[in-house]
């Protein structure tokens, strides 16, 4: 029987995995979003409102929140994706902070005092969602759609010259990522049974990006490895007491120096495919 402590950690891994996947999906088109915690916040508050105030079943509430957040992602995506690189990163960061600030002042959902009343969900429920979305991303990675995303990332002009509608692809990826982040938020709210605006700050967005960079930004499974590392490693360094985060940071830097591309990468998967076919 798993201890409550480990069950809690694994739930955090599942939620972080979803957040990291939301960054990975946008990154597949060559864009970096630093505002996905904003979409997570929208998902958390909307799901909680639906389940607590309206009595909507959680699964349906998650689907509604994902759809709403996805739509907001598309609306935000159109103006935001006129920007590129660092400018897009800054614009999405601004969006994330705007959402946090909105909930801080939105008294109907508790404002700075937060919101509670959600029913706790099981680890199995969280991981059913996390595994299903990871599987969906893995399937998409072998589809024509993912090839289109990669084409946009490689060279937007060349992608347009083969007939791709690059704006639709980028905005679509943004919308899908926003939906995934919203599900992470809904699960977070029903795992911790209490949410406050500070849960969806810039640091949360950075955690998502860090999980992708560490685990590997060219394969979806990298987000899983990154999420496991980010949650589990500090826990296993507890014997270092106050020094554990300093050592954790040092380990991350060392890891990135050894493998800049992250722990997993596409070529690693190709190598195994080659070995299998040989």
């Amino acid at each position: 029987m798993m201890s409550t402590y480990y069950a809690g950690l694994l739930a955090d891994v599942g939620i972080l995995l979803l957040g990291a996947l939301s960054v990975y999906i946008i990154l597949a088109t060559g864009q970096l979003s630093l505002g996905n915690a904003g979409f997570m916040g929208i998902g958390a508050y909307l799901t909680s409102y639906l389940t607590v105030t309206m009595g909507v079943p959680l699964t349906l509430a998650l689907v509604i929140a994902a759809a709403a957040s996805g739509a907001i992602g598309v609306i935000i995506g159109f103006p935001a994706l006129r920007l590129r690189g660092i400018y897009l990163a800054m614009a999405t960061l601004g969006f994330g902070e705007m959402v946090r600030s909105f909930f801080l002042n939105f008294d109907a959902m508790g404002g700075a005092g937060g919101f509670h009343g959600m029913r706790h969900v099981s680890l199995g429920y969280i991981w059913t969602w996390a595994a299903a979305i990871l599987l969906l991303v893995a399937i998409l990675e072998h589809s024509q759609i993912w090839l289109e995303l990669r084409a946009v990332r490689d060279d937007e002009t060349a992608a347009a010259l083969v007939g791709l509608d690059t704006t639709t692809i980028k905005v679509g990826a943004f919308g899908f990522a926003a939906a995934v982040a919203a599900i992470a938020g809904g699960l977070f709210a029903h795992h911790h049974v209490y949410i406050e605006p500070g849960n969806f700050s810039f640091e949360r967005s950075i955690d998502f990006v860090l999980a992708v960079i560490l685990g590997g930004s060219t394969v979806g499974a990298g987000a899983l490895v990154g999420a496991l590392l980010l949650v589990m490693l500090p826990e296993h360094l507890r014997f270092l007491a106050d020094w554990r985060f300093a050592v954790f940071g040092g380990l991350l830097i060392a890891m990135l120096l050894v493998r800049r591309q992250g722990i997993l990468d596409r070529s690693l998967f190709r190598f195994f495919e080659f070995r299998r076919s040989a």
Binding site: A151, D154, T157, A158, A159, L161, G163, D165
Partner: protein
């Protein structure tokens, strides 16, 4: 097939193309030559629908719109851009697959893929190789092959010989002639003006955003004043 009237393209305050008129008839190779910065690439990118512009570009009687690369490709205008535009994180096979993106005739598309691979056997051999690992010549072949898979009627080739060894340049130019013989119309944008003029039927010479002169390619090649001024020494002896 293609009529350009009074084309103007600006990059901010800089006017790159100023009042260009250009015509291309079905089945001909037209060379667009001139020094670096003359505006050749900008004209090709405007035709492909990659840029905002003023003026009129008509293709097969239809008015093309600025910033509409996807629509122009579906109409039959394909550009092989300067620098080749290879999708570098993809394999050769995946790049070719992207060339088929706009095709809805699946059976014919599969036959065309086989045809392109027989034209460029090296691409079939290196199907699983990352495109970024190909040599410059192989990348150029891949770029042309990918463009051909969209089944264009007008192929715009922007500096296809850039960075290629002389032997590979000859191969590319021979390929252009073969494509013309098969009925394809080609606009060849080249800095290696002499070689381009040798295979083209007509040519336009550009300088600082304007068409300086145009006419049969052989006449431009044999014009001593033009040849010495714009096409490099010894051009007229070719």
């Amino acid at each position: 097939m293609l009529e350009i009237r009074n084309l103007h393209v600006s990059y901010g305050a800089i006017s790159a193309v100023r009042g260009v008129d250009l015509d291309i008839a079905v089945g001909e190779i037209v060379a667009l030559v001139g020094a670096n910065g003359a505006g050749k690439t900008t004209v090709a990118r405007a035709i492909a629908g990659l840029l905002p512009y003023q003026g009129e570009i008509r293709y097969a009687g239809r008015l093309l719109k600025p910033n509409s690369a996807e629509r122009n490709l579906r109409l039959g205008v394909a550009l092989v851009p300067e620098g080749r535009g290879i999708l570098s994180s993809m394999t050769v096979g995946e790049n070719l697959l992207m060339g088929l993106y706009t095709r809805i005739d699946r059976d014919q598309a599969a036959a065309d893929l086989a045809d392109v691979q027989s034209r460029f056997p090296i691409l079939a051999e290196r199907r699983d190789t990352m495109a970024s690992l190909l040599s410059g010549g192989e990348q150029q072949m891949l770029a042309i092959a990918r463009a051909l898979l969209s089944k264009p009627k007008l192929l715009l080739l922007d500096e296809p010989s850039l960075g290629l060894a002389p032997k590979m340049t000859d191969f590319v130019f021979e390929m252009v002639l073969r494509l013309r013989d098969e009925g394809l119309t080609v606009l060849l944008v080249e800095q290696k003006a002499r070689q381009a003029l040798k295979i083209a039927g007509r040519a336009y010479l550009m300088e600082t955003g304007r068409v300086l002169t145009s006419g049969p390619a052989r006449e431009l090649l044999e014009d001593h004043v033009l040849a010495n001024a714009f096409l490099g020494a010894g051009a007229s002896k070719a």
